[in-house]
């Protein structure tokens, strides 16, 4: 006993070291989109990578009675913003849209940019432009272009007609303001500088912002607030996952403790179960920390299911041990066979390219291996052989007799038929929906605020973008400009409703040159010469033609043009209201591609669901073969095939029933099939124990205890507010219950 304890202490010490060291470099992720497989298209990758600064950006909208607006603005300027900027990570106004850099760019290009209408007017009615410029010059308003380069103020007019980034709001650095009849609106565009993917930093940023917002609401009770930004959703998702993990894990644990104390009437069993569970969890987390840099918080939620599986093995082992040496010897092979098939199932999960499932597979495989080792090693050595409560024994004696009577109806013959019928019904009912939108789990209040801000700012564009590629900036910009020319036409055809393009803010070099040429021609006419004379200046010198790459000096270029690491440049046009017919138009354009990250992610999820379906079918087929060869090794091949067929039939029935019931709540997605994996591996366990030489009554005692605890552990997940987790919970709850009810029908008689 002493040697056993020393060995265990040494092993656990090693495990703790691995856990602590491994945990040091881990950064938890919380975005559901980051659970998805990586898109291998380099254009898509470049675009997705370019969006990270946007993830750091967030907006606060404040709506306040007009009479309090000035005070609130002063409060924001003097208290809120300095305090947000004071701590790390600093939260500062986003200066990307600041006017200074924009003006500076256009000043350097005075006379080269002009309103579209100016081209026609220069050619046909130049007097109108001259009059407009004279009127402008006599208005008591600032003139910021150099008149010697832009006598007609064309570039200043061009800038005044540019689309606003935040429609209707005027910029009073660093605030955007909009006045109404009775209420005013204030918009704060902030950037945190924090890594939005780091749950710790995101939480810290959100906490500091919330603290300031609380202060505002206390000082200005009439203010209405809304938040928008990835960081709020990330923090909410993380909080929700953590809350659910502690709630569901706690409930499962409580139920298990009650069952343990009630059935075994022993604190030693309780202590041993907690020891196995803690050690297994530590092993699981160590494996995840060493193999993954950024585990996902959703993995924690799925990982709570280790409680149910751990209990399963502890119960079977302890109940078998309580019935003597012979019973223990009979259960050990079943424990190994059941354990190893389950672990193998989880290891196979790591071959799927879904990071969340890989992490879950690693965690569960490592944790279950630990459970299995500890159970087989410790149960006989620690003499965990206390008999179960007599009532528990009597109940299962009755149950065993009841199932024995059912064996008269030869379930070995009709179970496969029922499995075929259930499989066919399931196939006919099958409806899948792989949209990632279904998996969104942000709190409704936060979603409403997001929609509110999108409504008031009118800045929301759908996730649709046009990606334009070029090996150099010049080539890409030429292609970009050609596509941008088509946008008004597409809008007129109803293929899109709106767009946002770099060429809304700049004009191609040849167009700039054309504008200069037209002005030069005007100066040769009497009207042009008279105007220059009125100004008292000579004919402007035509500037040298600018290269395409000069456009990249525009302050907004970084919102539309992204360098690809070594493969040139990527241009982005954001679209809204895209109709499916647009795809055929875009396909005709070389080097341009319509991309929607959400559609892409949904498509990826769909592909992986299909992969998982085929993987499950293969697993079931493989399990049938392995069981036919290994189950009850002293039996004949025909008997082993019959047993194997019964086990697999029950798994199919349980799976079909569970998925059919899950369909009532929502269409099937990849997470239902993650649950299906568990149904299959648990069904295999139950089937192996029922088909083993262990006394059926003893198996039922452990099986019902295990199934109840497992169903509770997984069943509570079906109440999760995250649809992905709920889908998982539904399938496992019903699948486990069906498996537990049906596996005792297995008859190992000839």
């Amino acid at each position: 006993m002493r040697a056993t304890v020393i060995k265990l202490v040494l092993a656990i010490s090693l495990l703790v070291i691995l856990l602590v060291v491994g945990n040091r470099h881990v950064q938890w992720q919380s975005s559901l989109l980051h659970t998805l497989p990586q898109d291998t298209n380099p254009l898509h990758q470049a675009y997705q990578n370019s969006q990270q600064p946007n993830e750091q950006q967030f907006l606060l909208w404040l709506h306040i009675p007009a009479e309090q607006s000035e005070s609130l603005v002063a409060h924001l300027r003097k208290r809120v913003l300095p305090q947000l900027a004071a701590e790390q990570p600093a939260i500062k106004p986003n200066e990307q849209l600041a006017i200074e850099s924009l003006i500076s760019f256009y000043q350097a290009h005075a006379g080269s940019f002009g309103p579209t209408a100016a081209y026609d007017q220069l050619a046909n009615q130049p007097e109108q432009l001259i009059t407009a410029a004279q009127q402008r010059l006599q208005q008591p308003s600032p003139i910021w272009v150099d008149l010697q380069h832009d006598p007609l103020l064309l570039t200043q007019s061009y800038v005044e007609q540019l689309p606003d980034m935040l429609v209707g709001f005027h910029y009073e650095a660093p605030l955007y303001l909009r006045s109404g009849q009775q209420n005013n609106e204030i918009l704060l565009v902030l950037t945190s500088g924090a890594d939005a993917l780091s749950q710790t930093e995101a939480q810290r940023v959100v906490e500091r912002v919330e603290l300031q917002l609380q202060g505002i609401q206390q000082q200005f009770p009439a203010v209405e607030l809304a938040r928008s930004g990835f960081i709020f959703h990330a923090a909410a998702a993380a909080n929700q996952a953590k809350h659910e993990m502690s709630l569901f894990g706690g409930l499962s644990m409580l139920f298990v403790l009650i069952m343990l104390v009630g059935v075994f009437r022993s604190l030693r069993h309780l202590a041993f179960t907690l020891f196995v569970l803690t050690t297994a969890s530590a092993a699981g987390f160590s494996a995840v920390f060493w193999l993954f840099d950024s585990p996902h918080v959703l993995m924690l939620v799925f990982a709570t299911t280790i409680i149910g599986l751990c209990i399963d093995y502890v119960f079977h082992a302890c109940i078998a041990a309580s019935h003597g040496e012979k019973s223990w010897r009979a259960i050990v092979p079943a424990l190994w066979l059941g354990g190893i098939t389950t672990i193998a199932g989880y290891i196979l999960l790591t071959f799927l390219a879904l990071p969340l499932l890989q992490q879950l597979g690693v965690f569960m495989a490592a944790a279950l291996a630990t459970v299995l080792t500890l159970v087989v090693y410790c149960v006989p050595r620690f003499q965990l052989n206390t008999p179960t409560h007599p009532n528990w024994g009597r109940l299962h004696h009755q149950l065993a007799r009841g199932y024995a009577r059912l064996h008269q109806f030869r379930p070995q013959y009709w179970l496969p038929l029922v499995a075929i019928v259930v499989g066919l019904i399931m196939n006919s009912q099958f409806v899948a929906n792989d949209s990632v939108r279904q998996l969104a789990s942000s709190p409704p209040n936060l979603v409403q605020q997001e929609q509110q801000i999108r409504r008031v700012t009118a800045t929301h564009f759908d996730a649709d973008v046009l990606l334009i590629h070029g090996n150099s900036a010049e080539v890409m910009l030429q292609r970009y400009a050609a596509v941008a020319n088509l946008l008004p036409q597409w809008q007129a055809q109803g293929l899109i409703t709106r767009w946002q393009s770099f060429f809304d803010y700049v004009q191609p070099p040849q167009q700039q040159h054309e504008l200069q040429q037209l002005q030069h021609q005007l100066w040769q006419t009497s009207a042009g010469a008279d105007y220059l004379h009125w100004l008292g200046i000579t004919v402007p010198v035509q500037p040298e033609a600018q290269p395409w790459s000069a456009l990249l000096n525009h302050p907004l270029a970084s919102l539309f043009v992204y360098p690809e690491s070594t493969k040139g440049y990527l241009g982005v046009i954001r679209l809204s209201g895209v109709q499916p017919e647009l795809t055929s138009y875009i396909q005709e354009i070389a080097h341009a591609e319509h991309f929607n990250p959400l559609t892409q992610a949904s498509s990826a999820l769909g592909q992986y669901r299909v992969q998982l379906q085929w993987w499950l079918i293969a697993l079931i087929g493989l399990a049938w073969v392995v069981l036919a060869l290994r189950i009850k090794s002293q039996a004949s091949l025909a008997q082993r095939i019959a047993l194997s067929t019964q086990v697999i039939s029950i798994i199919i029935i349980a799976l079909g029933g569970a998925l059919s019931l899950a369909l009532v709540a929502q269409s099937l997605n990849v997470f239902h099939f993650v649950g299906a994996i568990l149904v299959v591996v648990l069904g295999l366990d139950y089937g192996i124990f029922c088909a083993s030489n262990v006394h059926r009554e003893h198996v039922l005692q452990a099986l019902s205890l295990s199934a109840l605890t497992t169903a509770i552990a997984f069943g509570v997940l079906s109440f999760s507010s995250t649809p992905a987790i709920a889908a998982f919970g539904h399938v496992v709850l019903w699948g486990v219950l069906f498996s537990a009810l049906l596996t005792p029908l297995i008859t190992n008689k000839k």
Binding site: P140, I143, Q148, E160, S179
Partner: protein
């Protein structure tokens, strides 16, 4: 974008016209408080605009009528132009085109005309220099284009000087007129 500053400048100047004509007190508060004038107020103006790169100032002239809920800015020479400023925005009455974002400026302007000195104090640092009040913009967007505005004349306001960041400046000479001599739109 720039239209905002056009309107803001108009606001500044008109607010000074209406707000500085009675300025004779030495303290800034008293000086500013005395700026309120009975509305409607009616002025004729001559503007001399010095723009960098131009060899001589550009001169324009016209009339200015300020009512409780609107301002009429009418240039008569060299090019006729008429601007109507209300809470709904700023409109060129000849072309019937609205200056984008003008409603914000118009509302600010009307608040100033109603005697809301808080707004002036919010947007400008006010000092007295001889017979001129010197208003230096506090807020960044305005200060990017205007260095300061001088309102001069004692006891009657007769001159406004607007200095732009890029070296341009405008001097607007004002002469009070009878409030009924210009038809208000």
């Amino acid at each position: 974008m720039i239209w905002r500053y056009i309107g803001t400048s108009i606001v500044c100047i008109v607010s000074l016209v209406t707000g500085s004509s009675q300025a004779s007190e030495t303290s800034i508060e008293t000086f500013m408080a005395a700026q309120k004038v009975p509305l409607p107020a009616h002025y004729s103006f001559i503007q001399q605009r010095t723009i960098q790169g131009l060899p001589r100032p550009l001169t324009s002239s016209g009339e200015l009528l300020i009512n409780n809920d609107s301002i009429h800015w009418e240039t008569k020479k060299p090019i006729a132009q008429s601007l109507q400023i209300t809470a709904a925005g700023i409109v060129d009455t000849q072309s019937e085109t609205q200056i984008r974002g003008g409603e914000v400026i118009a509302q600010l302007l009307l608040a100033v005309l109603a005697g809301d000195l808080d707004k002036i104090n919010t947007h400008f640092k006010v000092t007295i220099n001889g017979e001129c009040a010197v208003l230096t913009p506090q807020a960044k967007p305005l200060s990017q284009f205007i260095t300061h505005i001088d309102t001069c004349g004692s006891p009657q306001l007769n001159r406004i000087k607007l200095y732009e960041v890029n070296g341009n400046n405008s001097v607007i000479a004002l002469t009070p007129k009878s409030p009924t001599s210009v038809k208000s739109d």
